[in-house]
């Protein structure tokens, strides 16, 4: 049996753990414009990132976007996941296919679509001007709202599919029993379905939160030059300024914050509803 997990383990060790270890080692080096990297063993990059108000602000923006996007995806995704889970017949197969359809389009292509919709000369502005509701264009592109909207469309299928697979496992007669005992639909949702779907809520929210924290293409294309999230900031350090040690430190800070908040959030949610 242990031999069965060997290929996957080797793949992960080679493709995931080895680069991470190397990156972590880089994060302890020092940057030099002439030599790129000076071998060292210092936490200076981590300290500079944590004490720098600019990067604290970038992390704050990232957390806000990730939190609101996850919340919107959960709120919008739960009813859809419930409907999908309770559906029978070929409609279910079609709707499942439609749910995953956005994932068949690349992030960049999807963002390009949003750009043509939200630009100052885009479809939305042109429509509003044609109806006489606006005289000049309203700024929709390059706003935090555009980024959240763009990210939600990317992550929503993940939330819906995760939730619906868990909701499918909740026997329908549990809901019917509650209704027979006089519970209103909202009470059934609050007292029966949601607590039973909690593993799905936790898994879906964790998955979506991680995806949001690491979003790259959507914030760059829809947020514009002034809007900065962590993944583009990490990329800038590696690619634009070739400061690999600092970029590596930023990447590990992002990893630690994402991991910490995901674990803490999941634990909190489970503890709250276990009572």
């Amino acid at each position: 049996m242990p031999a069965l997990i060997l290929p996957a383990t080797l793949l992960v060790l080679l493709m995931m753990v080895a680069p991470m270890v190397l990156l972590f080692r880089y994060s302890l080096n020092l940057y030099s414009p002439t030599e790129l990297m000076i071998e060292a063993f210092t936490a200076r990059n981590y300290l500079s990132a944590v004490t720098d108000s600019y990067y604290r602000e970038v992390m704050g923006t990232t957390l806000q976007v990730a939190f609101f996007s996850t919340l919107i995806a959960l709120t919008a995704g739960f009813p859809a996941a419930y409907a999908l889970a309770r559906m029978r017949g070929r409609w279910k197969a079609w709707l499942t296919l439609l749910t995953v359809f956005p994932l068949m389009v690349g992030n960049v292509v999807r963002a390009a679509g949003w750009m043509t919709l939200l630009g100052n000369t885009g479809v939305v502005n042109a429509g509003l001007r044609a109806t006489g509701l606006l005289s000049g264009p309203v700024q929709l592109m390059y706003t935090p709202g555009a980024v959240v909207a763009g990210i939600v469309t990317v992550v929503l299928p993940y939330m819906i599919l995760t939730l619906s697979s868990v909701i499918e496992g909740i026997p329908r007669n549990v809901e019917e029993a509650a209704q027979n005992m006089g519970a209103r639909p909202f009470t059934v949702f609050r007292r029966i379905i949601f607590p039973l779907a909690l593993p799905g809520v936790v898994a879906g929210s964790a998955l979506v939160f991680i995806l949001c924290m690491n979003a790259y293409a959507t914030p760059v294309l829809l947020g514009g030059a002034q809007f900065k999230m962590m993944a583009p900031a990490v990329y800038d350090q590696f690619v634009r300024t070739t400061n690999w040690p600092f970029g590596a430190a930023l990447a590990f800070i992002l990893l630690a914050v994402t991991l910490g908040l995901t674990v803490a959030g999941s634990a909190l949610l489970q503890r709250r509803y276990r009572r």
Partner: protein, 346 residues
């Protein structure tokens, strides 16, 4: 049994022979292959149409493009610096990026004797580590219906009457910082005064767009009226119907040069030299000029008069060139980027 055994042996030997032949032919193909790290889009298409197919192809070279923006390709060259066998045979970058890569010791010093077209290179554009492929100049682009009289100096972008109407491409952060340095009383070797000048411009509502293309959309929609850009891009944008003129800044035109070089760890150096030579061919140079508006870098390439009038830089303009200080930019790259990101854009 023995028959079957002999058949198996023959089959095996035959298959082995075929395998060896296939390997040898693959090696032969690989020997004529040249991998070029380049921009995609229009530039990549032009490279294919003007260099790869008509010139390099006839020499028997199989040209493969590795396309990406300049920054990731530069990062890749740096990432591969310890590798004995690099993935690129020819690296194409702007002069500022190429200098930085060369400074890290990643490029061969070119043997110009192996490049037949090298003697035709415009002397001021020649570098020991790269050939100049195309070039243009940094100018002010403006909307003639909105900006009247025409701007004469970079300082005109700081005029309060253009509040909120000046826009830049985020990709040109280093160039715009040099412009601010000149306006603020600094020089190409002292960007210190750029900080205050950039903050003044920020207070005047200057806009930053994430790419050249998004800036073009803003110019077309008359969201902004003025920018600093390459003359060649102004030519392309005018051709695409954007209402633009260009003005030569009184501070002098800064040339932007696109170069080709051979990484030290390139695997096909002979082919790389042949490719660099093909890029300097007058036919290839004229093709880039007609479509993209970049000026040839060789003296034996001539342009039609009407095209030259739109894109060429006169000898007087060339004499007044405000040349970049590559070493200063390389030394201060992180600082320039940080200020742009944290203070100007924030």
């Amino acid at each position: 049994m023995s028959d079957t055994g002999s058949m198996r042996r023959r089959t095996f030997l035959g298959a082995a022979g075929l395998g060896a032949a296939a390997l040898a032919s693959r090696r032969a193909v690989a020997a004529e292959r040249v991998v070029v790290g380049t921009w995609g889009g229009d530039y990549g298409d032009l490279l294919a149409k003007n260099v790869d197919e008509p010139i390099a192809g006839k020499l028997g070279l199989e040209v493969l493009h590795q396309t990406a923006d300049a920054s990731p390709r530069k990062a890749k060259l740096i990432a591969e610096r310890a590798a004995r066998r690099g993935t690129l045979d020819v690296a194409l970058l702007s002069d500022v990026d190429m200098y930085e890569v060369s400074r890290h010791g990643l490029l061969d010093t070119l043997d110009m004797g192996r490049i037949a077209n090298a003697p035709h290179i415009v002397a001021s554009l020649a570098r020991p580590y790269a050939i100049p492929q195309i070039y243009s100049g940094q100018v002010i682009l403006y909307n003639p219906d909105k900006v009247n009289p025409a701007p004469r100096s970079y300082a005109d972008l700081w005029d309060p009457k253009y509040r909120g109407r000046v826009g830049f491409s985020d990709l040109l952060y280093s160039q715009i910082t040099s412009v601010a340095a000149l306006v603020g009383g600094g020089s190409m070797s002292d960007y210190g005064p750029a900080k205050k000048a950039l903050l003044d411009l920020k207070a005047l509502g200057a806009k930053v767009y994430p790419s050249n293309e998004t800036l073009a959309v803003a110019l077309k929609g008359e969201e902004v009226w003025l920018t600093v850009m390459w003359l060649a891009r102004g030519y392309q944008w005018r051709r695409s119907g954007i209402n633009l003129r260009h003005a030569e800044p009184a501070e002098g035109v800064t040339p932007i040069l696109y170069q080709g070089a051979i990484p030290k760890n390139a695997q096909n150096k002979a082919q790389a030299y042949a490719y660099l030579n093909a890029m300097l061919d007058p036919r290839a140079q004229a093709g880039f000029a007609a479509r993209m508006g970049y000026v040839p870098t060789v003296t034996n390439a001539t342009l039609p008069d009407d095209l030259a009038a739109q894109i060429a830089l006169t000898p007087e303009q060339q004499a007044r060139f405000r040349l970049p200080d590559y070493e200063y930019v390389a030394q201060h790259a992180a600082e320039i980027f940080d200020f742009w990101n944290r203070q100007f854009k924030a």
